[in-house]
């Protein structure tokens, strides 16, 4: 079974690093901006079922409306990534998520759109708690591509939700 999933969010929030950590178990401090889209794949086992995930790592954009609508078509799940250390990447999140849902044609009840708070390695537990309190939507998972924290869990959880829905 093959499923297309997308990673979207502001530029520099660590989307490519999450994919790189998940697919190749690698991390680089060097920042390389994604141009257009980069596609990678990984097979994941969920509840005894094997899913071939085609991961579309979409170039970061301040305005979510700038991402071509056609990229979202046919996607089974989306990871919306923001950077805990940069408030501008999680400001206005409800509107941004609504745009993503509209473009991907997901219902408002669908949980196939997950919100990821990345770069937990850049803050301590107190700061994290404070940020999570300020973000006006439910954050599904806190990750760190650098420390390899919860990266596999994020993708596996999305695959599980795709299968369930």
């Amino acid at each position: 079974m093959q499923k297309k999933i997308l990673l979207v969010g502001d530029f520099g929030v660590g989307k490519s690093s999450l994919v790189e950590r998940y697919v190749n178990d690698r991390f680089s401090e060097e920042y390389k901006s994604t141009i257009g889209v980069v596609i990678q794949k990984k097979t994941v086992e969920v509840d005894g079922q094997s899913i071939n995930l085609l991961i579309w790592d979409v170039a970061g954009s301040r305005e979510i409306a700038e991402v071509p609508a056609s990229y979202y078509l046919g996607s089974s799940g989306i990871l919306y990534v923001f950077d805990i250390s940069r408030p501008e990447t999680w400001a206005g999140l409800p509107q941004r998520l609504a745009t993503v849902r509209e473009k991907a044609k997901y219902s408002s009840e669908s949980d196939r759109l997950m919100v990821i708070a990345n770069k937990s390695d850049l803050c301590n537990a107190e700061d994290l708690k404070e940020v999570l309190g300020q973000v006006s939507v439910k954050v599904d998972i806190v990750t760190s591509a650098k420390d390899s924290l919860n990266v596999d869990s994020a993708f596996t959880e999305l695959a599980r939700r795709i299968l369930t829905e």
Binding site: Q2, K4, I39, N52, P68, A69, G74
Partner: protein, 287 residues
């Protein structure tokens, strides 16, 4: 009592060389004091480095050139390995351009010729709806169908593949092609228009949309109108069957067999290495 001869000699040495000994001690002190030595040497070294920088090409150029020549001569294999992909691409591109020029000049000459052979060639060409030059060139570098992919329109997921080689990841290619297609259509497309052709060096990719899926045919070599027509017919016939029976989308074996049925005339499927005899037979049976 007289002093021992060693002491006498020492006294004599001190009397005769006291000045030199003092100088030697001063120099020795200076030499061992790193900071003082550095201060003294700095201007000299700086001057020498500046001279070296200015004269480097003259002083070392011939030596380096000689060393490089020897290195290249002794490691020809490695040099070829590094340069051949770059040279190969350049040569291919050059040959393509030259062939295009040749095509034009042949056409011109063919128009001027009235020999029986030329008349016959023109007659065949007009029957096939192509130019005489195209026939000559396509005989030299025949078009070959390298790969056919059936891709879901929205998701870019690969539904089926028929290929002469198995060395690339078709899932990723299908995804990237869909992304490129989506990007171009988003940026430049008007309603109902879609990306139909991508050229890459000696490859041409033909894309045709059929509702929920699109078909990509990768062709190498010189594509004449006749080949394109035949390929178009095959793609359409294949697409009609695919649209008629959705079962093909879910059954990989059934899909492969249908693709083989429609495209084996253009290129045989990628198979494990066979004996030389088998390869010759396959090549002969291919278009």
């Amino acid at each position: 009592m007289n002093a021992p001869p060693e002491d006498q000699l020492e006294q004599l040495k001190n009397l005769l060389f006291s000045e030199e000994i003092e100088k030697f001690e001063t120099i020795s002190e200076e030499f061992n004091d790193y900071e003082r030595l550095e201060k003294k040497l700095e201007p000299i070294l700086e001057k020498r480095i500046a001279e070296l920088q200015a004269d480097f090409p003259d002083q070392f150029g011939p030596v380096i050139t000689k060393a490089l020549k020897v290195q290249i001569k002794e490691s020809q294999e490695e040099v070829i390995e590094v340069l051949s992909p770059i040279m190969g691409r350049l040569i291919k591109k050059y040959v393509q351009t030259e062939i295009a020029k040749l095509t034009e000049s042949i056409d011109q000459r063919m128009r001027d010729l009235f020999s029986f052979k030329a008349t016959l060639r023109r007659w065949i060409a007009s029957l096939r709806g192509v130019s005489s030059a195209e026939i000559i060139v396509s005989e030299l570098i025949p078009a070959k169908l390298q790969e056919v992919m059936v891709i879901e329109n929205d998701s870019g997921l690969l539904i089926g593949r028929h290929s002469v080689s198995a060395d690339s990841d078709p899932d990723l290619i299908a995804g990237m092609l869909t992304a490129i297609k989506a990007f171009v259509e988003d940026a430049y497309g008007k309603t109902g228009e879609s990306l139909e052709q991508i050229e890459y060096e000696t490859f041409t990719l033909y894309l045709q949309s059929f509702g929920s899926f699109y078909i990509v045919a990768a062709v190498s070599g010189v594509v004449d109108s006749a080949f394109k027509d035949e390929l178009n017919d095959a793609v359409h016939a294949f697409a009609i069957e695919l649209t008629r029976d959705k079962g093909y989308h879910k059954d990989e074996t059934k899909m492969m067999s249908l693709m083989e049925q429609h495209f084996s005339l253009f290129s045989p499927l990628a198979l494990p290495p066979a004996s030389e005899d088998a390869v010759v037979k396959e090549t002969a049976s291919a278009r």
